[in-house]
């Protein structure tokens, strides 16, 4: 026995030098994914996972999507899953709601949410209210998605932000992604949700690449609806925003941190149900609040946040009135100089933060 063990141990001691060699492992280069591709991936994975999911809208199939968001999906899934519709939002939104009631899981794409106004009766009266009106009998697992808010030079009838309008209605869930990770996680959660969900994307963000963390590359990456994310930690002031203005807030925060002001930037991700716990906890920490949105001020997302802060425990922690930075209270003008000044810019956010902090 001892002879055998001696035989085994000696070679092991000789090879132990080899075993001690470590292989060096470097982290893979960060994957950059545009918001467009993230939404595409999210829809692709959900279409693959559940055959009841289908996409319908104008130009989604053969044209690969008006903004190329659904590129490649028609080639992969065919006519039965990716459906081109005529230019009648009221018509195809109604068809989608009916399909959802019958048990399918449609994704109804509006070319922009401005056109959803044509179909808003279907979205609100047929989709949003049904689960309640039926006493819980009839669910409508539908997703309405499309670009929302201002674009570039498309003037009054094509630049409205619908976050406040849809956020007003009980029965709807409303999400507003900012970056690629948000977009993929939220669209997947929206499709898997059994309630009507409105996904307010942003046309100007479609082409912007963001770093895609490894967990977002998984096929089951979901972002819970109703949970905000703190994009940047800070101590002096809380800045709450959703969709494209989150990027502007982060830029403003970077500029202000050079002056010694640390802003806590919260990306709401969900408009309805709003994550007030995160916002309240942050306000209780920083004692100041600025809300930033692209929509109109009256009855807007910022107005709701301020009202709820006032009604909740965080009010006692405020050292100054909360300030809302919003789009100008006019229909979006066409001339570039007027348009640029009608949406919140980085300088407007910095001005509001300084005004709140009294510096």
């Amino acid at each position: 026995m001892a002879a055998v063990s001696g035989l085994v141990r000696r070679p092991l001691r000789e090879v132990s030098g080899l075993l001690k060699r470590r292989f060096h492992w470097t982290a893979p280069a960060a994957l950059q994914v545009t918001v467009r591709d993230a939404i595409n991936q999210g829809m692709d994975e959900e279409l693959e996972r559940d055959e009841k999911v289908f996409l319908l809208g104008e130009e989604v199939a053969q044209y690969d999507g008006a903004y190329k968001v659904s590129r490649g999906l028609w080639k992969k899934y065919g006519d039965k899953r990716i459906i081109d519709t005529p230019i009648s939002e009221m018509g195809f939104a109604g068809i989608a709601v009916g399909a959802a009631m019958a048990g399918l899981r449609p994704i109804c794409e509006f070319m922009t949410f401005n056109f959803s106004m044509q179909a808003i009766d279907q979205v609100i009266n047929s989709a949003a209210k049904t689960y309640y009106m039926s006493g819980g009998l009839q669910s409508v697992p539908i997703v309405f998605r499309g670009p929302n808010g201002a674009s570039a030079g498309v003037a009054a009838q094509h630049s409205q932000c619908f976050a406040a309008w849809y956020g007003h209605c009980p029965g709807l869930k409303v999400v507003s992604p900012w970056n690629s990770e948000d977009a993929k996680g939220l669209i997947k959660s929206a499709i898997r949700d059994n309630n009507p969900v409105v996904v307010l994307e942003n046309e100007l963000m479609y082409g912007v690449p963001f770093e895609f963390p490894p967990e977002a590359q998984s096929k089951d990456f979901l972002i819970p609806i109703g949970k905000a994310k703190i994009e940047r930690q800070g101590t002096h002031i809380t800045v709450v925003s959703h969709s494209r203005p989150v990027g502007h807030c982060l830029e403003a925060a970077a500029v202000l941190s050079k002056e010694g002001v640390e802003c806590e930037v919260i990306n709401m991700r969900t408009i309805r149900p709003m994550d007030m716990e995160t916002i309240e906890a942050s306000v209780m920490k920083t004692n100041h609040l600025v809300t930033v949105e692209g929509g109109w001020p009256q009855f807007g997302v910022g107005a709701e946040i301020c009202a709820r802060i006032m009604e909740g425990p965080a009010f006692n922690f405020l050292d100054a009135p909360a300030v809302r930075v919003t789009g100008a209270d006019v229909p979006m003008p066409y001339a570039k100089i007027l348009e640029d000044n009608s949406i919140p810019q980085v300088k407007d956010i910095i001005f509001a933060i300084k005004k709140t902090l009294n510096i």
Binding site: N114, M117, Q118, A155, A156, Q157, Y334, A335
Partner: protein
């Protein structure tokens, strides 16, 4: 009356052969008659006329309007490609006869509304090319002070330009619609 005009081109003559003269003869008429397809009638005794006469003055007037619209649209196309016009720009070069022909058939007191391809109609309804191009380029000299853009141009008895497809159909109450 027919006028026969003879044009003699001396340059062509010298190019061909000395001594030979090229004569081009052009015949002008003062008006032209067109036939219009008869349409089915419902609860009417008589329908619209089946022939119409286009006089020389009217013809030249329409031609001038169409040419102006064509050149305006081609310029707008160029400006759009240079990104001086932003957003949407729906042009009607090639379709000028629609707006000019419609204007010929209605009175200035009639009401008109159209969809997004509105530049030609804005012109025929009385606005100048300067106002239209200023609007397209976002200047305050534009018909909507630069705030409307391509699809939101208005004039007297002209209710635009509508960005939402189909919106003009519902708005047309007692307007003439195209």
């Amino acid at each position: 009356t027919r006028e026969v005009e003879v044009a003699v081109s001396r340059d062509c003559a010298t190019a061909l052969q000395p001594g030979r003269v090229l004569v081009a003869s052009r015949n002008f008429a003062n008006d032209a008659t067109f036939e219009i397809k008869k349409c089915d009638l419902h609860r009417l005794e008589e329908g619209p006329p089946v022939t119409t006469v286009l006089t020389r003055e009217d013809g030249l007037k329409y031609y001038r309007m169409m040419q102006t619209v064509r050149r305006m649209e081609l310029k707008a196309d160029q400006l759009y490609k240079q990104k001086i016009i932003r957003g949407f720009c729906h042009l009607c070069d090639g379709q000028e006869a629609c707006c000019v022909g419609l204007e010929a058939g209605i009175n200035p007191t009639d009401h008109l509304i159209t969809a997004y391809r509105a530049h030609g109609f804005t012109f025929t309804r009385g606005l100048s090319v300067r106002e239209i191009l200023a609007e397209l380029t976002g200047r305050k000299g534009g018909c909507a002070k630069g705030k409307g853009g391509s699809m939101h141009m208005y004039a007297k008895n002209f209710y635009g330009g509508n960005g939402i497809v189909g919106a003009q159909v519902v708005k047309n109450e007692d307007c003439v619609l195209l």
